[in-house]
């Protein structure tokens, strides 16, 4: 990154970061997913209703990499649930350099497929993230997924 300007290479590298992110989640490689965050990261999954009305409740709200790790433990060991596949599609990136970081917005759709069930649109919305350059490449410092979906289809176990 040169003095607040984003090069083509930066954009491609950030798109690669998102590709790695969705591949890790869709393939349930949660440790690989975790590695894409900074140590002092935050993650929020919040309904559009709460977000637009300035209400602070999130569906998931993690304030550190440790909390993300705890969620992974919950998924693997404690949360009883019917397993399902996730398939993320992310598009329409908007990149805005912001004080050494890059604000990235994008639309997303997550399709859920449960065992022996047809696929269904599970969660859809727009992410509003902050990406920072690190010695290991670009990483998520902040990820906020604001979902349109007015009803969660019963439960939500895995991160978006």
């Amino acid at each position: 990154m040169i003095a607040g300007r984003l090069t083509i290479e930066d954009r491609l590298a950030i798109e690669d970061l998102y590709a790695a992110y969705v591949a890790a989640l869709d393939e349930r490689r949660y440790d690989d997913w975790l590695a894409l965050f900074t140590e002092d990261c935050s993650y929020r999954l919040v309904s559009r209703e709460n977000y637009e009305r300035g209400l602070e409740l999130s569906l998931l709200a993690f304030e550190s990499k440790g909390m993300l790790q705890d969620r992974i433990f919950g998924i693997r060991e404690t949360l009883f649930h019917e397993p399902y596949y996730q398939r993320h599609l992310i598009a329409n990136f908007v990149f805005t350099p912001d004080d050494g970081a890059i604000a990235v917005q994008a639309n997303y759709v997550v399709i859920r497929t449960k065992p022996a069930q047809p696929s269904e649109v599970y969660n859809t919305g727009r992410s509003r993230d902050r990406i920072v350059p690190t010695p290991d490449g670009f990483r998520f410092a902040e990820r906020v997924c604001v979902f349109d979906s007015e009803l969660i289809l019963n439960s939500l176990i895995y991160p978006i």
């Binding site: 709460n50 602070e56 709200a61 705890d70 433990f73």
Partner: protein, 417 residues
């Protein structure tokens, strides 16, 4: 009056609450009777918190049973609840969850109503002039007063709004009964409330299963590993269960024990002794004086709402039935106006445990879905509810299904099944 008879014989032995026929979770005629007898008469139903509509003109869309209703606050500050259905052509005209209006207007023919639900005007009432004649118009004897929105009976009880289509009800205080009221007023003592947000989920199971889930202290220490590990709910915790006189409402109350391995956790396959949090701020529990020593109180107010205090997390959970096989579950998380910023943050952090993605409630929705699948696959079978005997009433421990039996004692009386 139309009397609906069940389409199948339940073969439910009289005075037995230890068996519950699957059919009551799946049969459309039973479901229709439940809507009529539980949601549309004789019961107060939860519709929201007064704090959700703080200003004159504010409205909130909610529901009583399957019927969409609107809560409004009028210019004098009074709260009204009207059915979301235009008196003219039956249009469910309000399509927003929240908003602020001076009047309620149906888009189809612009019939307009004031915030109390009175019809205040409609286009072409006196007809339309064409040259020297007047075409159409309402009949001479048409009275605006006869065509308001359907108004509901309303009581705001310490900040919570209850409504009913039935105007012959005793006050909410007597509906709850003295013991349940005591726990209700422990949370809602008239303090000013602040809403922190909503979670909405659709659970593919019968609505009663959620009432039963929160009347069931057997499962939390088994299904919810989190509770066991951190001592928020264990089979050996000090716990008292209360039920109202008629068996319909209940309070499960308990005090946290320190999490550790003990003989209680032996044999509980879900127990993870070595589980440690990397960031334990989600369990940054601070005792509040109004708890009176209880770290958990779960109130099931039949048929429409659950009121939860789990350590510092507070929420109402509204049950909106959607046919025998599904219900919407709307969580409203709240705190108190005099909470410090730290307490507000703590309540929001602990919300990670609850709701559709919560560590100790996402799995409730999952098992309810699986129960419904089981009920659907074998007509004529029953569930077994025999833990701690076959009787009803309260208890001073958690190893019991007495609250579910109590609910079905009441259910059978009202449903005449």
């Amino acid at each position: 009056m139309l009397v609906l008879e069940p389409t199948i014989d339940l073969q439910w032995p009289p005075d037995d609450w230890s068996r519950i026929p699957y059919a009551i979770y799946t049969d459309p005629a039973i479901y229709a009777r439940e809507m009529e007898r539980f949601f549309y008469r004789d019961h107060w139903c939860y519709v929201g918190l007064a704090a959700e509509i703080p200003n004159p003109g504010d409205f909130k869309r909610s529901a009583v049973g399957e019927r969409s209703v609107i809560l409004t606050r009028d210019r004098d500050g009074a709260i009204h609840v009207v059915e979301n259905r235009c008196a003219h052509r039956g249009v469910q005209f309000c399509q927003e969850n929240f908003g602020n209006r001076k009047t309620l207007v149906c888009p189809y023919h612009q019939w307009s109503y004031d915030l109390k639900g009175n019809l205040i005007g409609l286009p072409y009432r006196k007809g339309v002039k064409q040259g020297d004649r007047v075409n159409g118009g309402m009949p001479e004897d048409f009275q605006l007063a006869e065509f308001g929105l359907e108004k509901l009976n309303v009581q705001v009880y310490n900040g919570v709004v209850f409504a009913s289509f039935d105007f012959g009800l005793p006050p909410v205080e007597s509906f709850l009964g003295p013991e349940i009221r005591r726990f209700y007023e422990r949370i809602f003592d008239g303090r000013e409330l602040v809403v922190h947000g909503y979670s909405r989920q659709r659970i593919p199971g019968n609505w009663k299963l959620m009432q039963e889930n929160i009347k069931d202290p057997y499962h939390p220490g088994l299904l919810h590993t989190w509770f066991v590990t951190f001592g928020l709910w264990r089979a050996d915790m000090k716990s008292t269960l209360y039920v109202d006189e008629r068996g319909r409402h209940a309070a499960m109350t308990g005090a946290r024990t320190e999490g550790a391995k003990s003989e209680i956790t032996e044999g509980v396959t879900s127990f993870k002794e070595k589980m440690q949090l990397n960031d334990d701020r989600v369990l940054d529990i601070v005792f509040e004086p109004w708890w009176q020593g209880l770290t958990a109180t779960l109130l099931t107010i039949f048929p429409s709402v659950i009121i939860q205090q789990q350590v510092n997390s507070l929420s109402t959970r509204h049950i909106v039935p959607r046919g025998p096989d599904a219900f919407d579950f709307v969580w409203t998380h709240f705190g108190f106006a005099d909470d410090t910023p730290e307490m507000k943050r703590r309540r929001l952090r602990q919300a990670n445990l609850f709701g559709p993605a919560g560590y100790v409630s996402a799995d409730d929705g999952e098992v309810i879905e699986f129960s419904q699948r089981g009920f659907r696959q074998h007509e004529g079978r029953s569930t077994v509810v025999e833990l701690d005997g076959r009787g009803t009433g309260g208890a001073d421990h958690t190893v019991t299904e007495t609250l579910i039996r109590s609910m079905y004692r009441y259910y059978r009386e009202v449903m005449e099944v």
